[in-house]
Amino acid sequence: MRTYCSFLGLHQCATIIPMLDKTIPGRTINIPPRSEIIKSIKEGGDLIAGVFPIHYPRELLRAFGIHPIEIWGPPRVDPSAGVSHLQPYVCSIVRNALAFQQSSGLDIVDLLLVPHACDSLQGLGSVLLDFIQPQQPIIPFYLPRADGDVAKEYLIAELKTLYIQLKIITGKTPSDDELQDAIVKEERYDEKFSELYIAREELPLSTESFYKLVRSREYVPGEDFVNLSDGVLDQRTDAENSYTGIILSGIVPEPMDLFTAVEDFGGRVVADDLACCGRRRYSAGRSQDPFERMAERLLSGPPDWNRGNSIGQRLDYLVEMIDRKKAKGILFYTVKFCEPELFDTPILRKALQSKGVPSLILEFDINDPLTNQALTRIEAFMEMIA
């Protein structure tokens, strides 16, 4: 499969986002911007799917020659374009997504995939389908909240339905072998994603750079993501531990200078429970049946309310993460109006406190900069746990 970054020469070209490299002067890791990725995919004649949060089968899209570009907001767009469709008490991720669509930001994509994660995303999918009816096909996708075989059987059937919808849109009919091929590749990319997490203390990257790299998985084709990751993994150094480690939990780390703020106060995000990042560390499936294998992959991964996991499971996972990473505290970084997160945090915070793990909750809107008030609270929290 062609690597678009190489095709465009993006590792050398000028349109790059440089990433900090703290140890090796003069070296940078260049992540191509979304616009370049989209341009290269379009020039290659492939299709693009705009994908809303959170979980979806990347490999199935890729088997049809469709490249997913994820839409987590995006932050800092003018939300006014969506106000005639959504009330102000809907979270900014969903409001921005609709505003972005309404201001033609998604015209470039060939289809929209709307995974069902919460009431707001459900509403977004429904309003798009029933009222806005954009030029592209809208495909909803429902991840089961039940447990065990019944969830897996449902998901297999849901994936088969998605296959048929993609077949109608593209006219392609990937064989089981082609599906398996796409699956194995995406599993390899997932593995690289996890490898970055495992090696993160040894990577010569600031926290913000690290998250820019892992979040590039939201839009960079997997094969290029592997190249970018290898470029970093090859430069491992001895782990630095002169910082106060914290865990970041929430949906999405916006604005990304949050990480710099934490570092400025002597801290470092050493692990996360973020919906866009750590909660998508899927394990490879085992089945030889492609649909079953895709379902196994999607149902794996850390505890998540989107899969119906209990708060106790989330708590155990966080406690294990804290112990393993020797973190001193947790920052719950919650998007305003995000009900699923807001329901879990009081119990999680109380239980963590009883185990001697301090936590801080910060609410934000993805259009807002990091406020002075937030900075003061982060500073006070870091001082307290240092």
Binding site: F131, G312, E363
Partner: protein, 441 residues
């Protein structure tokens, strides 16, 4: 010891308590002499059946108070397949109903504050906050809530209930049954979605049986489903009577009289109650009595009620001769009666619970509203944009727009919250309603 506990339960919940409730209601009725606090120059006198409703609801919560002594208790969402648990003889408690009672009694804000003090954000559903506040503080206007032995949540009304019941499960440390009903974006639910719900219902049975300590009898389940269907059909018939002009009951009456169809679905007394109510409604029609004394305009209400301002809204609208005669919310408890087939067991249950209005697309709700506008000869629509209910509220802005543009029906979006009066601004509501009423004239 167990026998003694059961005897205490029987005495309090079935013998002495009911006697006291009846005595209290009788004394109250004598004191009030048929008068209502609602303005009877504008609105018709309350339904006689209201007395029986008060009695049923009071008995239900009285039994709840002692239920842990004599029965297994299940806490369940309003849209969940209650028939399974009724058939296993659980005492069924609906936290949403309890929250609505708190809202009507205007104690919800105080109870919500207890949850907020424990860290729960004001941005989560006010029903859930009321429930958590009550759970954490013990505050409730119904005396005392029994602790659950089992929790059941069904995602057909929202994803909020999944988050909500995960909190309850953690707090009470009891089994949680999740009935996950995939959202129906298109006209038909996918076959695999219905199959998924059926299998979850099958899986739920042994869990519920284990907690109940008894096996589910098919004949008993069919009987409960039959009673549930009968009550639902009667409720639907009552609402359909409002196609008459003047409408014999208002939606505000429906909000109050719907308690049994929600919390006592599957009981024989509920069937009797709605049969009697239907008779009274028919009697009103025969005598030409309308819910609003001088009905001039007829409206539809969309979304949950504003529980703490029912009387205010009924009187404000009533004084302009405006009757709210239909509601997508009360309609939701009757419209799926045709899908309930007691002989078809879990499949019929899966179908009827998957096709709940809140589990269907925003376009389907618009279709429901336009159908009701024609069926009930309505002059306009009030859409309550409910801060605490995103699945009901998202889509309303487009629905209002289509109602105005394509169906030539005046429609008003009214910002409020079903249980939290802090998110309700009376002056703004009054101004918006005044402007809307002027437009209707």
């Amino acid at each position: 010891m167990r026998v003694l506990r059961y005897l205490i339960y029987l005495w309090n919940a079935k013998v002495f308590g009911p006697f006291l409730i009846r005595l209290n209601l009788w004394l109250n009725a004598r004191r009030e002499k048929g008068k209502s606090r609602w303005n009877q120059e504008i609105l018709s006198p309350p339904l006689k059946i209201s007395y029986r409703n008060k009695e049923l609801v009071a008995m239900h919560w009285l039994e709840g108070r002692y239920a842990n002594l004599g029965k297994k208790v299940v806490w369940i969402t309003s849209g969940a397949p209650v028939e399974l648990f009724k058939a296993l003889d659980f005492f069924v408690l609906y936290p949403e109903n309890h929250a609505a009672i708190c809202g009507t009694a205007r104690v919800a804000v105080d109870i919500c504050s207890e949850a907020e003090s424990a860290g729960y954000s004001r941005d989560i559903c006010s029903y859930a906050r009321t429930d958590f506040g009550s759970m954490l503080s013990g505050k409730t206007p119904v005396g005392k809530l029994p602790k659950p032995d089992l929790l059941v949540t069904c995602t057909n009304i929202c994803q909020t209930v999944l988050s909500w019941y995960r909190v309850l499960a953690h707090h009470f440390d009891v089994p949680l049954i999740i009935i996950d009903t995939p959202f129906v974006y298109h006209r038909q639910a996918a076959d695999h979605a219905i199959e998924y719900v059926v299998k979850q219902l099958e899986d739920a049975i042994p869990v519920a049986e284990k907690v109940a300590g008894k096996a589910l009898e098919q004949s008993r389940l069919e009987e409960v489903a039959r009673l549930s269907k009968q009550a639902t059909e009667l409720w639907m018939e009552i609402m359909k009577r409002n196609t008459h002009c003047p409408a014999p009951i208002s939606v505000f009456d429906q909000f109050i009289q719907m308690a049994p169809i929600v919390e006592m679905r599957g009981d024989a007394i509920t069937v009797d109650f709605y049969a009697a109510m239907l008779q009274e409604v028919d009697d009103r029609i025969a005598r030409g009595i309308g819910a609003v004394v001088e009905e001039r305009k007829r409206l539809l209400w969309d979304n949950l009620p504003i529980w703490y301002r029912l009387r205010y809204l009924a009187e404000l609208l009533g004084q302009h001769g405006i009757a709210i005669v239909a509601s997508t919310y009360t309609n939701a408890w009757g419209e799926l009666a045709h899908l309930i087939d007691p002989s078809k067991g879990l499949r019929s249950m899966a179908l009827s619970y998957t096709y709940a209005i809140l589990n269907r697309g925003t376009g389907h709700k618009l279709e429901t509203m336009t159908r009701m506008i024609h069926e009930f000869q309505l002059d306009g629509v009030i859409l309550h944009s409910d801060r605490s209910c995103k699945p009901y509220s998202i889509g309303q802005m487009d629905q209002r727009d289509r109602l105005i543009r394509e169906h030539n029906t005046p429609a008003l979006l009214l910002e409020a919250d079903h249980n939290d009066s802090r998110a309700y601004a009376e002056e703004q509501v009054a101004n918006r309603l005044a402007a809307f009423i002027e437009m209707l004239e």
